[in-house]
Symmetry: C2
Subunit: 383 residues, 2 copies
């Protein structure tokens, strides 16, 4: 049910002709109120796509009536014309929905450096508006796919209110959010500052810790819209937990669908002096191409884990480091530990634990292995 699981929302997903292959490529999500509160988190890449620049601006009011999303083109590195196109998209949606362009966010995903075919996109917005439905969440989720093999949705329902959402993303997954577009909706009755706090808290420990390939996108956007249609105002902690739960589920779906991957790798750093140390070490391990290849080859090559830890500024002593792979402590006190032959790596999920023996802080980063299929998907055509 995705973005239409919560009351007060309608959505649509259509094929506007932006993608040459005729697949669905335009989604519209509308908040019918009574409240129209919203918050957003965007890529930390300094090269930001036009829709990111637009939506950041729009979100400053804390209010959104609708979101237009397209696949088939990122509208990034497209100069003033690209920004005009995003603006025109918002204006078109505002016109057909009877609202102001300042309440319409725009998200785009696809190839960088190509202008969008506005002669197809603008009529598409009108068509999508004519097909808005309380059951349109799944079609919207399908329309934002690029190299995704499956569409991703998640819903949690608590006492009388719901948080639901959709995500796209399969490559260029890295911190500062993944190459992804995420729209979350809720019928909880909450103001935009509460939404903002809950959303930032959730993305910090979920999407920001998904790092498929170390490459940060120009278009990452996560939006949270609240309609207030349930008439219920949940407590902050309960609401924040629900948002985090949906973000965590969607983040896991992104990792499981990462381009060319054959393994999902959970890098858990424990015994760190600080959470920042744990994240830095986790990310360094998750981005080590040699380790990612070794895991692809089901080789518990803990030396590559230590090499990666050694490049960080985290607090640790080399001769106190411990590493477990799938439960076997193959490295103890910086040297050889349990027999590496005991490590069973046949399954898709691989669990690497790095113990810095320097404190109590922990963090978990999710990544994927590096495969010939990843190389193929990212070398055989422009994406």
């Amino acid at each position: 049910m995705s973005v239409t699981a919560a009351q007060g929302f309608t959505a649509a997903g259509i094929a506007a002709g932006i993608k040459e292959n005729g697949n669905p490529d335009l989604a519209l999500v509308v908040n019918n109120g009574p409240r129209r509160a919203a918050a957003g988190v965007f890529t930390s890449n300094r090269v930001k796509a036009a829709p990111v620049l637009w939506s950041e601006q729009v979100l400053k009011s804390g209010k959104l009536s609708a979101v237009v999303l397209n696949s088939g083109g990122a509208n990034a590195c497209t100069g003033p014309k690209g920004f005009q196109d995003t603006h025109a998209t918002a204006e078109k949606a505002a016109e057909v929905l009877g609202t102001g362009a300042g309440e319409v966010a725009v998200c785009s995903t696809g190839l960088i450096g190509v202008l969008l075919p506005m002669d197809k996109l603008l009529p598409g917005v009108e068509t999508a508006a004519g097909r808005l439905s309380e059951h349109g969440g799944e079609k919207a989720a399908i329309a934002i796919k690029t190299t995704d093999t499956v569409h991703k949705t998640s819903v949690v329902t608590r006492g009388g209110w719901t948080v639901g959402g959709m995500a796209k993303g399969a490559g260029m997954l890295a911190p500062g959010l993944a190459t992804m577009l995420v729209v979350l909706t809720t019928d909880a009755d909450l103001a935009s500052d509460v939404l903002d706090r809950a959303l930032r808290g959730a993305t910090r420990v979920t999407f920001d810790r998904v790092d498929s390939d170390g490459c940060m996108s120009t278009n990452d956007t996560v939006l949270l819209l609240a309609s207030g249609a349930s008439g219920i105002t949940p407590g902050y902690e309960e609401f924040a937990e629900a948002v985090r739960s949906v973000c965590d589920d969607l983040g896991q779906q992104l990792i499981r669908d990462a381009e060319g991957a054959s393994k999902d790798i959970k890098v858990e750093v424990v015994g760190a002096a600080t959470e920042d140390d744990a994240v830095e070490v986790g990310r360094s391990i998750a981005r080590n191409n040699l380790l990612k290849c070794a895991i692809h080859g089901e080789d518990p090559n803990w030396g590559r884990v230590l090499s990666a830890i050694g490049t960080t500024k985290a607090a640790f002593e080399p001769d106190r480091l411990n590493v477990a792979i799938n439960g076997v402590w193959v490295c103890k006190n910086g040297g050889v530990g349990e027999d590496r032959e005991l490590v069973d790596m046949r399954y898709r999920e691989v669990h690497v634990v790095a113990d810095l023996a320097a404190g109590d802080a922990t963090a978990t980063i999710w990544t994927n292995d590096l495969t010939a299929d990843y190389v193929h998907e990212n070398s055989a055509y422009s994406s």
Copy 2:
């Protein structure tokens, strides 16, 4: 002629049985004086192999009589026993050469986390000492190969004096030096502080700017030994240029032999506000897996260059960035530039220029493409 091109040096390379396949695996380089000045630069990885810890200590005196190098095992993450083994290796060489262990550097390369077979290594040192020759440079260069497909040597001769050297390295090439062992020799008559200054100056702009796969090794070592046998003391600038020239040549040879690579990529950053900015941007581009895949596919995907620049802290404005690939300015002012169809990427060397339009500083980082062969080489067996 490698390390024996300069007068005053002898070397040997033998098969000591450290490698199970019987290939050469032990090299010995001896400085016969009259001077025995030396300098060294080591990995900045905080997880340092035993031979690195040993050789760093030994170099503090600025004096080296010999270097023992082995392939077939990195002696990294091997604890106190590993350090004892390095010490015993230096003692053995000192004994057979009639010098002190404190004048013997040790370098090891190969798999991390495995103890060296000392029952083979120590007799091997004795055997190698018996085969020292003024023509032994090439055999020494062959004996330090791991996954290298060719051995790497370089020599420059100036007015009456010479700088020569050998290098090994094919993967785990990244800053803080590559996974590499390099021994340079010269018969110029210079003190260790001059050698140190020239070596640091050279590695900073050569080996430190070779970044094949972003993975930093635990064993990287570059040594420079001076025998003074030519009786000539060149001017500093002339000597520094010669050292830089040999380092640059060896660095290029490392890139051309990088594991699984099909392209050598010269990432040239121009128009940077500072050299640090240029290096940061160059490294970010060089490490972008998506760009490395695109270049493998001969796709001039400049959007991935901009994405990589956007993750840095360098001074730039996104709408002033320019990118050329093989001479075609495919991105101008942050947007679409010349026709990407004009880019010819058929040849092995690919030249990416990123113009930050923020100043006059420049830097060049060399890297490779990301290929299915790289994945295969690093997943099919432990290395």
